[in-house]
């Protein structure tokens, strides 16, 4: 881990203790078993808000604590380790960033303090197919006298069940596939014409399909500039990608630690299974991949903090590097545990399942690989 400031170290310890005591994988299992509609326990979310994490990125003037992404990454890694189910990334990072980057002063005052307190759960509703593709936004927003009328559907919206503020990417011009002609809207989750359907995915979190049937949005709820929303959308998504990468790093790091522990305790043929080179070398290779993923995740978070010009590249790199590591680690976690790894009673499956959902969210490796190399002009 890179060199942390004193403040970051204190926060890291605080969050990791909390995860151990209150939000461990055991807690996740209880959530899975009780299957709440939102895909997370309200108690867990309340504690996260009490810890001040929902407003971590939000400036003090709007009720948050105004910390940077590097610090956020430290927190998310710890939450990833516990597979902690909460809308922190969707709301405290993606939602908050959308309002921070694109919002007017009024919009910031209206929403940020409530996102920071956790009263409002925000999420970005962007994809309309089972594959990430922001520029393929087709959901129609047609001009009305005083505002827009939204018509269409969004799918696999993260925390779409709990969200009471939907940040919707809609088409106000051009064709699906064009960058131009996309506009972002702030839509009240309770607005007339909004209908959600819960999607049960393997990670048991709160994903939803959301239908918009002639939903009225006033001009005051346009986020950013009409028709020019793609750049904002991409910036917001990059913050989500970097944050999710930090969470994925934590998931992978925990999978790695648990597997390494097993290599040191499980005996076969009269010796620890970790003494077999076939396993030891793979463990060392996972360690290497983890270190590389960590560098790229930190590179993306720092890139946001420093306003790097290469941000798209840095975020795509992070999601790919951590994606590779987590893919291999979550598979090998099961393989190296043998039969017990396949059982529901054991936790390995939770890591695998969450790993794949996180991989698909905000663009998988194929998406980011393409995006990365496109910056080289080939």
């Amino acid at each position: 881990m890179s060199v942390l400031t004193e403040e970051q170290t204190i926060l890291k310890d605080q969050v990791s203790n909390w995860v151990r005591d209150e939000a461990s994988v055991t807690r996740f299992r209880q959530m899975r078993d009780s299957n709440p509609d939102f895909g997370f326990e309200s108690g867990t979310w309340n504690s996260i808000c009490d810890l001040g994490l929902a407003g971590l990125l939000i400036p003090e003037a709007y009720g948050g604590s105004g910390m940077d992404f590097k610090t956020l990454g430290v927190v998310l890694e710890q939450l990833g380790r516990g597979l902690t189910a909460s809308p922190l990334v969707a709301s405290g990072v993606v939602g908050a960033s959308a309002v921070l980057l694109g919002g007017s002063e009024d919009q910031k005052r209206q929403w940020l303090p409530r996102i920071a307190s956790g009263e409002v759960v925000a999420t970005l509703a962007v994809d309309e197919k089972a594959r990430h593709g922001p520029e393929y936004t087709a959901l129609a927003a047609s001009r009305e006298e005083s505002g827009f009328l939204l018509k269409g559907g969004k799918c696999f919206v993260p925390e779409g069940m709990a969200a009471n503020l939907l940040i919707v990417a809609a088409r106000t011009g051009g064709q699906p596939g064009d960058h131009g002609g996309i506009t972002l809207f702030l839509v009240d989750g309770e607005a007339t014409g909004v209908e959600r359907t819960r999607l049960s995915l393997v990670d048991h979190r709160g994903h939803a399909d959301i239908e918009f049937s002639d939903v009225v949005v006033s001009d005051g709820n346009i986020l950013g500039t009409v028709d020019q929303g793609f750049e904002l959308l991409d910036k917001v998504l990059d913050r989500g990608r970097a944050a999710l990468s930090a969470e994925m790093l934590g998931i992978g790091a925990e999978a790695f630690d648990r597997t390494l522990e097993y290599l040191k305790t499980r005996e076969q043929f009269g010796q620890m299974i970790g003494s077999f080179q076939a396993l030891g070398h793979r463990a060392a290779t996972h360690f290497m991949d983890m270190e590389f993923a960590r560098s790229s995740v930190e590179g993306a978070l720092e890139g946001i903090d420093l306003g790097s010009e290469d941000l798209a590249k840095l975020c795509s790199l992070a999601k790919c590097q951590v994606g590779d590591f987590l893919y291999n680690m979550s598979n090998d976690m099961i393989q190296m545990h043998g039969g017990i790894g396949m059982t529901d009673e054991f936790d390995a499956g939770f890591f695998l399942k969450r790993a794949r959902v996180a991989e698909a969210t905000y663009g998988n490796r194929a998406f980011h690989l393409d995006r990365y190399i496109a910056t080289e002009g080939i």
Partner: protein
């Protein structure tokens, strides 16, 4: 900060006055200290830089080094790059042997060996490996018999890079046959000594950069012993740490010259705004990302080591570096198609003939300086705490 800007101004002026403009962005293909012999402006530049000590910027001034802080050294690198200047001095001496001497040698030895390394006057080679001692290096047999005030060496070394051109060798030799690790000493010897014979070995690339070295009753004065007798194993291993650190500080070999993207445009061509070959495009992307993540990791390890001290995790950088280089070379010749497999002839250009050789050379990356398997063993044992390695 103001000190640093003053230093930056000083460097800039010095470069203006001393770096021959004719050499701008024209680094030599080989460095002094690695066997290169210069003349004209290149030789002038070597002498001036060596005299100033900036070929080894952070080494102490009392031995002829630059005496700079890490921050100043960074400024120097930046200003050199901006001026199109380069360091014409390198090799085993500056990269590994010198730093090791600074850590463990006597005052007298430092005064004797360091200044010529700094100026690039002496070319060192490394005598570690033997026919029977590769990965299991400590099983080496070349024997240095203690005859009071001198040693007499018999035996042989193998895979010794640059031995043909080298002036001196540092190496590890057995001085006690009854103990494995505690019977090894770290000794320097003049390659012109009576009884030293060098036999070149041809590589798969058709080049012959390394050799077998035979010792027959070679007399070496006692003052050439570094550290104590029979305590050379620790010094030898310490030196390899500098080797790995050096690798961590480097990037892809030759990644600055003719790049993959450029080659892909030239040899494959575009289909609209994308490379015409989708599968190769994906592999180029993967390679570029690997190199990007490598440089991020090398930077992170360096800044962490400055605070927490060096970590054995550095071993993974060596493994990753080998893979990165090898993948890159494979990809390059594949992009070039059959032209990437050219052996010789006027039908082929220098890039083609050069890359086929660097591709073949890169196969050694996972063998030299500790093989991949051996490095993974080390990481499994020292970083992960696994038993049996």
């Amino acid at each position: 900060m103001s000190d640093l800007s003053a230093f930056r101004a000083e460097v800039r002026t010095w470069l203006q006055e001393n770096f021959p403009p004719s050499l701008q962005n024209k680094p030599p293909s080989n460095q002094a200290g690695r066997g290169a012999k210069f003349e004209g402006d290149m030789e002038t530049w070597r002498l001036r830089l060596g005299e100033k000590g900036w070929s080894t910027p952070t080494w102490p001034v009392e031995y002829g080094g630059g005496g700079l802080s890490d921050k100043q050294a960074k400024v120097l690198r930046e200003e050199m790059r901006a001026a199109g200047a380069f360091n014409p001095i390198g090799g085993f001496g500056t990269a590994m042997f010198g730093p090791t001497l600074l850590d463990v040698a006597t005052e007298e030895q430092k005064k004797r060996y360091l200044p010529p390394i700094i100026r690039g006057d002496v070319h060192w080679c490394q005598g570690y490996s033997e026919p029977g001692a590769g990965s299991d290096l400590a099983s080496l047999q070349s024997f240095a018999e203690d005859r009071g005030d001198y040693f007499v060496i018999n035996g042989s070394k193998i895979w010794t890079s640059g031995a043909k051109e080298a002036d001196w060798m540092y190496g590890i030799f057995r001085t006690d046959k009854s103990k494995k690790y505690e019977g090894i000493s770290f000794i320097c010897l003049d390659m012109k000594s009576e009884g030293v014979e060098v036999k070149p070995i041809m590589l798969i690339s058709g080049q012959s950069p390394f050799n077998e070295v035979f010792f027959t009753d070679v007399v070496v004065p006692k003052e050439n012993l570094i550290g104590e007798k029979n305590k050379g194993w620790a010094i030898g291993k310490h030196l390899l740490l500098h080797e790995r650190q050096g690798i961590a500080g480097s990037g892809a070999m030759g990644a600055t010259a003719y790049g993959l993207v450029e080659a892909a445009r030239d040899y494959i061509g575009m289909n609209g705004d994308r490379l015409a070959d989708g599968a190769l495009r994906e592999r180029i992307a993967r390679q570029k990302m690997m190199a990007h993540a490598f440089s991020q990791t090398a930077r992170r390890f360096t800044s962490e080591a400055a605070v927490h001290g060096p970590s054995p995790a550095i071993g993974i950088l060596k493994v990753a570096w080998a893979k990165m280089n090898q993948d890159r070379e494979e990809l390059m010749i594949e992009i070039m198609g059959s032209r990437g497999l050219a052996w010789k002839g006027e039908e082929f250009n220098d890039e083609e003939l050069g890359h086929v050789r660097s591709w073949l050379r890169s196969k050694a990356n996972s063998i030299e300086g500790g093989s991949n398997e051996v490095n993974l063993n080390l990481v499994a044992k020292r970083v992960l705490g696994l038993k049996g390695y």
